[in-house]
Symmetry: C2
Subunit: 539 residues, 2 copies
């Protein structure tokens, strides 16, 4: 894959916007001119001299430093397109072993520099974006540690280099007959070490579990030596160190080799799309499905606005009209909601699950029929392609971002509505409309995740566009932080969510996290500014 230097994914892939999809967007937010894009050469010319020492493991080339300076958050996107990066890492290293990571950490102490671990560079919350510092900054790209090192078929535990990205995780397992089944939307690029460091969740977490259930053990190199977690199925022996270091986002150390729980490739996997009459029936249906504990591998339910947007963006106009006519004929109007679900496992189990699912969905007025499996296949085929839309839209002056949380079922409607209203109203004083839609996914008996996408017009400058985003992000984050909802269900904390973490963790929860980061990194050398806001009193 030739990777886009200033955006998402494979530069050979372009996600087209259908004409009627474009008309729908324009009907909500209007049209505008795109902002000018900086060239890679222009950005490279801005890269300053490196402050790092010369070392055989450290590269100081301008292009590498540009390519490792930013993730995929909206501020990152603006920086990459405007060329106003602000800070570049002083160098990039590509270790090939735990001992080379160890060597780099020792070097960081010796030469007093900071270290940022880099997996797939897919953070949408600023995890890997360097902050201004008096000290030099080294980004450690784990991408060369990308091998399946061991597979114990008896215990179904696989050991990977922490820098192994999704496709290499699956391809190396599949030739042996196994799968991990962890598919975040960033799967094409994000890495197993990154998933663990940021507590990732995959689209099929309902069946395969979140990364918490998949991570079995492994090594994290810290400033005080290697922290090894033995692979053990379960334990009551005190606090779970595995759970303590998951989600530390590079603040305690760098994962180098990790063990994950794999399963044999399923006999059968099927996805379906069913349409529900309205939001209320759709939400009740998925809640009942998950609370009845029916084995399924994924569920997602889009609200009416998202259902409309997805179908417009995902179809040609003629296809849309056919589908619309069919659904209207079956009695579903403009309030209809798409419900996508999947079953993964043995044929006999899938058959039983589907029987129960159909009964429940039918009871809530769901319409599937012959198109359900075809549309399920379309979802599965395009499941990692949505992020490419940002690029296409950007070239037309349209900015896209997403935000997400999770909360208990009793709060879902109020949190969802508050987030959507806040985004829709956030630019009213500029007479700007925002196009907002939402889905629920990652179903739990207790609640689910809420995932909201918003489209808005670029302002006349990068600065003004960033201000628009900041206003929207802050307003939605405040709502989340004060609604017993998590500031992130699957994107992590990074720098963008750090100001809201205390509302969730509480004063003593924050004390736990700060105590550990201070104990392991008293000089604040490891990914500073991530997870915790700038610690007062520290350099």
């Amino acid at each position: 894959m030739a990777r886009r230097w200033n955006g998402w994914g494979d530069e050979s892939y372009v996600k087209e916007i259908s004409d009627h999809g474009r008309r729908l967007i324009h009907s909500v937010i209007g049209v505008t001119d795109p902002l000018p894009n900086a060239s890679l050469d222009a950005v490279m010319a801005k890269v300053p001299a490196s402050r790092l020492p010369d070392h055989y493991l450290i590269s100081k080339g301008a292009e590498e430093r540009v390519r490792h300076a930013r993730g995929q958050s909206f501020p990152d996107w603006l920086a990459m397109h405007s060329g106003d990066y602000g800070v570049f890492p002083d160098g990039v290293s590509y270790p090939e072993s735990s001992s080379q990571v160890r060597e780099l950490l020792d070097l960081a102490v010796e030469h007093d520099f900071e270290v940022i671990p880099y997996g797939g560079g897919t953070s949408v919350a600023g995890h890997i974006t360097p902050q201004q510092s008096e000290r030099a900054i080294l980004t450690i790209d784990m991408g060369r540690m990308n091998q399946l090192l061991d597979l114990c078929e008896e215990s179904q535990v696989a050991t990977f280099g922490a820098g192994t990205p999704g496709p290499l995780v699956e391809s190396q397992l599949r030739v042996r007959g196994y799968t991990l089944g962890h598919y975040p939307q960033s799967w094409e690029l994000s890495t197993v070490g990154g998933w663990i460091a940021s507590r990732s969740s995959g689209q099929q977490s309902l069946g395969f579990g979140r990364i918490e259930q998949l991570f079995a053990g492994g090594r994290m190199e810290t400033l005080h030596g290697a922290l090894d977690i033995p692979s053990i199925p379960a334990s009551s022996a005190g606090p779970d160190i595995r759970e303590i270091i998951m989600g530390t986002e590079g603040r305690l150390g760098i994962f180098t080799e990790v063990q994950v729980r794999v399963t044999r490739l399923p006999e059968e996997e099927k996805f379906f799309v069913v349409f529900m009459p309205d939001w209320s029936s759709a939400k009740k249906a998925v809640r009942e499905l998950v609370q009845q504990n029916i084995p399924m591998s994924m569920m997602r339910v889009s609200n009416a606005k998202e259902s409309k947007a997805h179908i417009h963006l995902g179809t040609k106009e003629s296809q849309f009209k056919l589908l619309d006519r069919y659904l209207r004929f079956r009695g579903l109007g403009g309030d209809r909601c798409m419900l996508t679900f999947g079953v993964t496992g043995s044929k006999i189990q899938n058959k039983t699950s589907l029987k129960q699912v159909r009964k429940i969905l039918k009871g809530y007025g769901g319409i599937g029929g012959s198109i359900a499996q075809m549309m399920g296949k379309i979802w599965a085929d395009g499941r990692f392609k949505f992020p490419y839309l940002r690029e296409t839209a950007w070239q037309e002056g349209i900015a896209i971002d997403t935000l997400e949380t999770s909360t208990d079922w009793e709060n879902v409607d109020s949190v969802l509505q508050s987030i959507e209203e806040s985004l829709e109203n956030s630019l009213k004083n500029e007479n700007e409309e925002v196009m907002v839609f939402t889905h629920l996914s990652h179903m739990y008996s207790q609640g689910c995740s809420i995932y909201t996408t918003y489209f808005f017009r670029c302002a006349g400058s990068y600065e003004a566009t960033l201000k628009r985003w900041q206003k929207m992000k802050a307003s939605a984050s405040e709502i989340i932080a004060h609604s017993r909802a998590t500031i992130s269900h699957q994107h992590g904390v990074g720098k963008d969510h750090a100001p809201y973490l205390e509302a969730e963790k509480g004063r003593l929860g924050m004390r736990i996290i700060r105590t550990l980061t201070k104990e392991f990194d008293s000089d604040r050398r490891l990914n500073p500014g991530t997870l915790l806001v700038q610690e007062s009193g520290w350099r």
Copy 2:
């Protein structure tokens, strides 16, 4: 329930040993005289004056102090029967609210005393046993905080007082149509707060999850204020505080109100016992069942020795002979292994699961037939009664203890064999035989728990009997600690397992735990000696 003051459970319940069960035990370890039992009055006479201040929340009565001085570990058992308690708490408190717990913690600082939280008093690892101290010791019995405080049916989250014991958890939920489904063997007495503080696992964890999956949030009172964890279904926002405080065994604070994930009462629940030809086929069968992810709520497989012992202890001789004849007729001899399993859920799901289970078990030569469900019911009816056997055996001079671990499938046989051999050989130099048998339970795709029971003769004195146990416990614990197995899968660390914790957690893992206990309890006032061995340099 009138509780035994010096042993397990309800004093009105006596578990009889069948004649042929007794003969089996005697055939292995021989007979001996029981040791003399101390009376409650004699022990009460030893209770010294309390060093605690007078306070309306603190009781200093001798009987209460005796009844809260010990749990159910083997050393506890010897202390309770010999009357040599060593240390008694200086008083007992029965708070009725979080604010009363808060008041007691403030008082502990003001008057410089130590605090031990007490749930059901069922620890088998010394969690609640006070250690000699220059300071006074207060045991805080949470038993009055035993109410269902809230049930959100939409989110399926129940809030309980942390001192609610198993039967009150279930009875208060069941009248509302819900269940928690957490059934450790100590269920009759142990409490939801204790389960969380010690990372408990129930017999049906395969279906309902371990306490880690059930604990949703709640309050822990610490010396620095209340640590509140909001109920959220899942999050990627940094380390999971819930997971950090689970298993801290009173070292960071005391759980006062806790939220757990409940489910609606299942439509159907069934248990079965099937006999497998030998250990190899039995182990392969359960591994295949769990790795195929077939929905079941429990599995347990006893090795041939345990199968023999359980059937002898659980049947009359005439019943045993019938069963034995039937199994021999079906081709199963002395190597046969009992495999107990259960399904819990909807009828349609259970039917599908059972179809798959039968196919796999049949493939490995399993014999069930008409007796399978009847024997399953016998298991279910007696599931909490095994601990009562200790009392009956003790009165005949027979000591019983159990130990447990978990490890990956690839290690199961070698760890199991090493533990059994070590126990069987541990008293050879005294010409003593030990009767040892084992089952696997709590199946995970990655591995399972190994649970070993051992019977041995009391020595001529309490001191010599304790020495026998210490030798056995140390030898088995050393093996576990050095075999990539956990020092405890379900009993916690307490004081008995603390010396082995570092082998599992590593130097840096221990540093994490010590850092947190120091931060939260710099004066080592909360349950000292538990979880961590006596910290050097601390008072």
